[in-house]
Amino acid sequence: MNVAEAVMTRRSIRAFKDTPVPLETLRRVMDTARWSPSGCNFQPWEATILTGAPLRALQDKMLVTPPQDPREYSWDDPEVIPQCLARLHGVGAAMYTAMGIGRDDSAARDNFMRSNFESFGAPALLLCYFDRRMGPPQWSDVGMWLQTIMLLLRGEGLDSCPQEALSLHAKLIKDHLGVSDETHIFFCGIAIGYRDADNPVNNFERERVSVDGNVRFDGF
């Protein structure tokens, strides 16, 4: 698959098939993703990829545990800003409408939110964490690496869903993985598997602002 096709066909998948993901494929993806750039070549990223019994065990724990307080990091502050709130509501409305979940059906919405902790049925889950000392530019480096992985997965016919929601259970996840809470911050999960192509939650129209909304050209 070429780059543009990978970029355009990647979307956050929220219903996966149970087809297992071969280890060899993931090893190939992770090996190539090393070439993602980072300031001063820090390569600040770290991850564990779970499948099978260790994944099920983690999911079972998350489903019965209330979200941690305080949060691992603040991931919804920008939502208080009107512009971001509008974008969040836009994608939320499109998604719930596609699933046939009404605006006021909070039980159905809560239920769907919980499926985050089962990674929407994905057979593999990448859990990303890194050294707490890393600042905003290194978070950007980690983002580059994660997007590199998601695009390489498309090249292998695989799909993904990045899940910052899993940070609600950051300490639980680190404990499960044997990662030090003192030295490492947990960032996010990436659900990995094959998309259920017919499921409406994977097919609603996604909004993006036009390029002119984010980018200006000078001197051309």
Binding site: N2, V3, A4, A6, V7, M8, R10, L23, L26, D31, T32, A33, R34, W35, P37, G39, C40, F42, Q43, E46, A47, T48, I49, L50, T51, G52, P54, W75, P78, E79, I81, R87, L88, G135, P136, P137, S140, D141, V142, G143, M144, W145, L146, Q147, T148, L151, R154, G155, P162, E164, F187, C188, R208, V209, N214, V215, R216, D218, G219, F220
Partner: protein
């Protein structure tokens, strides 16, 4: 449009280019790349990236202003965020040193030749000869997860550029003069300047573009369980 490129080919052939050919870059190509890059993901669909893309006389004006500023403030001025963590040890310090060493060796610069190292560093302000700069900024209220989103977008841009036969060099160094950059670019109040990205065609002969870039084995940072 040049031949299509596989994702893995784009990832593996992207490298920070530090000597560009002077060939201009068409605006239409950049618009095509940026339109596709809007599909990069972001938490809550925030799409926190913003950029000014600059070329020609406008880029020359910005470069000249920053070079002037380096004379009075060689260690930076109006820095808005720490480009690197204050103390980095272990593998981070080692990796930083490793890439510096192999790069300066390739450029034929001896370890103790501070003047030559400084001259090579100054090439940043000329965008290493690239005809185009993409300067990125974001609202100041954005948190670390949104910086990750911006990174996803930046890498999406760099990989799409590869498919167009173009190369890039992400340059956080411009943030040494963050406040001045905002003034020069007319970036509104309430925003933080993040980085530059030199865009053009690589000089394939230059040693500084061909040295083997060190990366740690993925097994050092990625574990598999349950497979």
């Amino acid at each position: 449009m040049t031949a299509l490129m596989s994702v893995s080919e784009a990832v593996a052939s992207r490298r920070s280019i530090r000597r560009f050919l002077p060939d201009p870059v068409e605006r239409a190509v950049l618009e095509r790349v940026l339109a596709k890059a809007q599909r990069a993901p972001s938490g809550g669909d925030t799409q926190p990236w913003n950029a000014v893309i600059v070329t020609g006389a406008e880029l020359a004006r910005i470069s000249a202003a920053i070079i002037e500023l380096t004379k009075t403030a060689p260690l930076g001025a109006g820095v808005e965020y720490p480009i690197y963590p204050a103390e980095m040890d272990g593998r981070y310090a080692a990796q930083r040193m490793a890439v510096g060493q192999v790069m300066f060796t390739a450029a034929g610069i001896a370890r103790g030749d501070r003047a030559a190292r400084f001259a090579q560093m100054r090439e940043n302000w000329n965008s290493f000869g690239a005809p185009v700069q993409l300067f990125t900024y974001t609202p100041s209220y954005m948190g670390k997860p949104q910086w990750s989103d911006i990174g996803m977008w930046l890498q999406t841009v760099m990989l799409l550029l590869r498919e167009e036969g173009l190369d890039s060099c992400a340059q956080e160094i411009w943030a040494m003069y963050g406040e001045a950059m905002k003034g020069l670019l007319g970036i509104p109040e309430g925003h933080i300047f993040f980085c530059g990205m030199a865009i053009g065609r690589r000089d394939p002969e230059a040693a500084i573009n061909t040295f083997p870039v060190p990366r740690i084995p993925f097994e050092d940072v990625v574990r598999f369980e349950g497979f």
